[in-house]
Symmetry: C2
């Protein structure tokens, strides 16, 4: 079972055609599916009042290095200047650093709380292997405030990602939630404050390494075996439900930070229930740390119940001090990202995303008598005015080639008419799915097509 999953996982990775390794590209029908997916995500983001943002792909190197690593950041130079390359400009490696930089430049002209989304590629100069892309898309949302930011937004972010997954048809997932204050409060009661950042980084890997590796990694921080056993005990995976875990945490007397974290976690749980999220979709886990060091409160990560091997497909958390390093001013925020470049090939593989359509058009107007071009154009125009995506076949080819084209492209209807028929105000409408056809009056049949197609919604996958 496990090997089968791994094999299937490898297939997803290599699913996409790519000319340069690590820079994946979709075939046309996959790109249509990918775009349907981003349209739905965009729709949901906007439905909750998040507004679009589009920062430049290029940042100053010193901004990037404030949070990134020079071995994975791409710098830019003009080819003609290869003999005197300067570390000046580079490509963004995530959407959070540019967001913080943008806020620092523009906050005087923004209204807070500011809810933004950005769906855009990022670049990381890693070796392309084991599912690491060098260009991939992130779908980020963030809410930031100038002053306090209510914890209710933490719940909204978690909820919104769940809503999107449910809409897409990914039913079998859960979001692990935790609070950084609980982890760091607990660790402070056991180890030295200096060791905490490194310890959190090791805890973040707990489910990817063996217990022995976990222990020896903590030992390298000069943490004693007694302390390690204490930590391991606290982090053990558990079968208890959210209520039982919260009750146990509430009873522990560790320190103020720990208790504050427990209160925040409890509020989040209560809010997620208010927001109507089914309890099976969120699960408290003390083992969730998240790798980035800027998180200060809630952290979350969404995994697929039947494909845990692909890792998290979404994640995020609360960061109260992130912008400070970039703009000397605190804008507390909460945000998250959906890893769409990883998710979409998997959804295509599992037939959750439909890739039957090789065209955006639903209707092909065939051309039998080029002299009647005006009539064919009129028919297409009426359909288009009624929002039916319609292509006119403009090549000089036989009717059967034209119908073959419409079939290959996965269209729904072909409209067929020769000069005689057009003179009698008559067309043939062929249903390309069930291979039936009807002949009749133009405006009557156009209405029929319009009615059938407009019943489909772009939100239906």
């Amino acid at each position: 079972m496990y090997t089968c999953r791994v094999f299937s996982f490898m297939k997803w990775w290599f699913y996409m055609k790519s000319d340069i390794s690590g820079f994946p590209e979709f075939l046309p029908h996959e790109q249509i599916a990918f775009q349907n997916m981003t349209s739905i995500i965009r729709y949901y983001f906007e439905l909750y009042g998040f507004i679009p943002m589009d920062t430049a792909a290029v940042e100053r190197v010193h901004t990037l290095l404030a949070k990134g690593n020079d071995s994975e950041i791409y710098g830019l130079y003009r080819l003609a200047d290869i003999d005197a390359v300067k570390k000046n400009l580079g490509l963004r490696f995530d959407l959070t650093v540019p967001f913080a930089r943008y806020v620092s430049s523009n906050y005087g002209q923004m209204t807070f709380p500011h809810k933004r989304y950005q769906i855009a590629p990022v670049w990381r100069g890693e070796r392309a292997q084991h599912g690491r892309y060098r260009q991939f898309y992130q779908c980020d949302i963030d809410v930031i405030a100038d002053g306090e930011l209510s914890q209710r937004y933490d719940a909204e972010v978690v909820l919104l990602f769940a809503e999107i997954l449910l809409h897409i048809g990914v039913k079998n997932f859960h979001t692990k939630i935790n609070n950084r204050k609980i982890l760091s409060g607990f660790l402070k009661s056991i180890i030295h404050a200096d060791q905490i950042t490194d310890a959190l980084r090791i805890i973040d890997k707990i489910d990817k390494i063996t217990p022995e590796e976990f222990t020896s990694a903590l030992r390298t921080l000069s943490i004693t075996d007694a302390q390690i056993s204490n930590i391991t005990n606290f982090l053990q995976s558990e079968e208890d439900d959210n209520e039982q875990i919260i009750n146990r945490l509430k009873k522990m007397e560790v320190n103020e930070e720990f208790s504050l974290g427990v209160d925040e976690l409890y509020s989040l749980i209560m809010l997620l229930r208010s927001f109507g999220l089914n309890e099976k979709h969120f699960k408290i886990s003390m083992r969730l740390a998240r790798g980035l060091n800027y998180y200060t409160g809630v952290v979350f990560e969404t995994v697929l119940n039947d494909a845990p091997e692909i890792g998290s497909i979404a994640g995020g958390g609360r960061y109260d001090n992130l912008t400070e390093t970039i703009c000397n001013k605190k804008f507390p925020g909460v945000g998250g990202t959906i890893g769409i470049s990883r998710l979409v090939p998997m959804l295509i593989e599992k037939n959750i995303l439909n890739t039957d359509k090789h065209s955006t058009a639903d209707v092909l107007v065939t051309v039998q008598d080029p002299n009647c071009m005006d009539s064919y154009i009129n028919i297409a125009n009426v359909l288009r005015q009624n929002k039916i995506k319609t292509e006119i076949y403009l090549q000089n080819k036989s009717l059967s080639s034209q119908l073959n084209y419409a079939n290959k492209k996965g269209m729904c209807y072909a409209i067929i008419a020769n000069e005689d028929e057009l003179l009698r105000d008559c067309i043939i409408v062929r249903n390309l799915k069930d291979k039936t056809q009807v002949t009749g009056n133009i405006s009557h049949l156009i209405s029929h097509i319009m009615k059938t197609i407009s019943e489909h919604d772009f939100l239906d996958l």
Copy 2:
């Protein structure tokens, strides 16, 4: 008048906030307008059956150099590798070269004619001045065939761009059209074949330089004054209408290439009329050459009648041999691009694009009694299920702060209710535009909001 135009033009250029010169970014309300614009363009592209394409931003340097210039192409290196930079990967400088490369990799899995669009940024390492951006968006469409490609697609591309401009509210424009075969046929009858590419490049600049500069530029190619006078005469700007120009061209006996070009131009005119494009929106101009050397037939460029100083806002043409240099196989094509990064700031400046909205949400559900959060969430959910973009205000702020937020964001309605009102199934709906408000039953008022807002369409600017 002219200085005033130039001033206004400079304002557009510097309209956008930018952290690094040449990498413009919009403020939130401008970004909403920009995105409305790209949504409309995308909608029209798909309405005509063009399918989305998204190539990687990164190409191999040798692919880029096949058509580009090393002084404007950005190469990539990993910051850590600065001491050993290799000319390996670079950023695309247009969307046509990546398209040709994509087709060469994937044509076995594509259906022809292939109609694609791509809306994406490109990068050019120029000095940022006089309206040259280093990152800007292109909105490209192309149709390519495996074999012959009907000239009717040339007309479709020209028409589609005009349709989009008309929809956006840009009424006062015209598309200059010409055919490369006419120009090159004519030049072959006068000068040596070797001189033609350079001569076309000079002709492309004819409206940007003085007649004296034009003459001396041609002299550098060793073209005699008699030949220059002949060329200048042929290219003189004219008041004649399309019919008169075609008739004059038809009467000229130059050579076979010239006549073929005239026939193609005439077919294009006839097709544009069939397609229903008003004659005032297209105008034959012998002075239009287009800079790129890969055009082989129709060329076109769209300019605004009352802002010619910003240059062309769209342009393109027919290229029968382009892909050959990249993939050793001919895929004749026709395509064009809309320069949206140049167009949008201008449309904002002229109030053609509406920037009143600082949020995507139309409705704000205010929160007066946090204990009633479930009710507020229910109200928002009903609106969202009916596709009304709705934000719940989740900060702990006074009602007047919340209404102030909704006003600043340009929302249409605020929903107000305290615990008593909610217990009586009652809400207040405040119309933020006309400052009226009504109190009434929840479901009754929600239906009212839904009716008012769904009458607006995303296609209404």
